[in-house]
Amino acid sequence: MVELKLDSISKRFGGRQVIRGVRAIVQTGETLVVTGRNGSGKSTLLSIIAGVLRPDRGSAGLWVDGVELDPDSRRTAVGWVAPDLTLYRELSAWENLDFYARVRSLPWSRDRAEALLEQVGLAGRGHDLVGTFSSGMRVRLKYAVALQCRPRLLILDEPTAMLDQSGAAIVEALIREQRNRGVLVLATNDPNELRHGDLFLDLEAGG
């Protein structure tokens, strides 16, 4: 049982109020779609939901089985894919997966890594440096890193940007899979992706 509670979140940068009074309650199996044009605070809101940015007011609580997760347990409960999150270019795909698994203190095996790479369509490319990957392949690897921990909360920012059709199909499958695992937050401006949503949050609505 997973529940994400956004309670009157506000955040200002410098003198500018970026996010004001955002509220939502998302439960297991549900998807929250966040829309709004560039600069409306989507990425900021996602950072707050992920727990790496503290809001000025309000809170973003992630509850699993009735217990609120502290930042330390969020490390293994949150998966996050966004264009401005980058993996280590000078490491191979394998080494990236290995590093993230270790810092998250996840049980790790060769088979699991292979399975993940296969799931995102990167089978056999594990030993290549990420620096040599195309942008689409890098996004796929980000999905692998996000899925490593079997996230109770999955955050996707512009999920299919940079991806080809097969990539988009993988994301589609993943979104379906997430419904059994927990909560999904999806930030997008692609009208095609609105169909995934159960709840909708339009950041421009408040003016």
Partner: protein, 250 residues
């Protein structure tokens, strides 16, 4: 609700200052032990309290920085602005101590600056304050700025006493500073006047600090009054049909 104003301790400072100045010049006799110009010994009344207050205000800054980072109301930007006000007052004190010391050094050693260890220490203390404000200016986001500068203020408050009191007394470091006069050779008149000045200077700097805090509080209340943010609520809306229909019509 607001009964702070011109308190007794503030109004007492004027007469105290007048009295102490008169005592310093007409009651205390010039010192002959170790001073080129005996009259110049009166630097003690001014210079030594200023150097001590420079450090003291750095500790005050460190205290508010600890409160900001670890205290119960952590994240409260009022603590952060207190750190910066304390640093301002402390910087003013250290600058005054330095300039007065330079004047004294000109009289005593015929040069305003001779790289005496004490001069180096106070210069570095000034540099810590300057670095604090440099760091402050290079970050825009208030919370982040407050965290970075508070952490630095704590680092500085730990390093500063070492710089002021340990480094100049290392065995290999030789100072021309007439420290022995302070520790041993002051008669009771001098000691009394010196303490009086220390207390009054502490009062003046505390008053300055208090004014800065109140001014900031006033500005914060003003902007709060004229800024109806947070009235807005952006609420997530549920899809009318309710059920999830993934994969269906796009």
């Amino acid at each position: 609700m607001n009964r702070r104003g011109l308190a007794f301790w503030k109004l007492l400072q004027g007469p105290a200052m007048v009295g102490l100045t008169l005592l310093a010049y007409f009651w205390a006799k010039p010192l002959n032990n170790g001073f080129q110009v005996p009259e110049a010994a009166r630097i003690i009344f001014w210079h030594v309290p200023m150097a001590m207050l420079g450090l003291l205000w750095f500790f005050v800054a460190g205290y508010h920085a600890v409160r900001f980072l670890f205290g119960r109301g952590s994240g409260d930007l009022r603590s952060d602005s207190r750190v910066s006000f304390a640093c301002e007052v402390g910087l003013a004190c250290t600058l005054l101590a330095t300039f007065s010391g330079m004047i004294f050094a000109q009289v005593q050693w015929r040069t305003p600056w001779n790289w005496d260890p004490k001069q180096v220490s106070i210069l570095v203390l000034i540099m810590i304050y300057v670095a604090y404000f440099g760091l402050r200016m290079s970050v825009d986001e208030p919370q982040l700025r407050a965290r970075l500068t508070s952490a630095y203020a704590i680092l500085g408050a730990v390093a500063a006493p070492l710089l002021m009191y340990v480094v100049p007394h290392l065995p290999q470091v030789q100072t021309l500073h007439p420290t022995q006069v302070l520790t041993g050779g002051l008669d009771s008149k001098w000691r009394l006047i010196w303490m009086g000045f220390t207390v009054v200077f502490l009062g003046v700097t505390a008053w300055l600090f208090e004014l800065r805090v109140r001014l900031a509080a006033l500005e914060a209340r003003r902007s709060e009054a004229g800024d109806p943010e947070d009235q807005v609520v952006v609420e997530a809306v549920r899809r009318p049909s309710g059920g999830a229909t993934t994969g269906a019509a796009g």
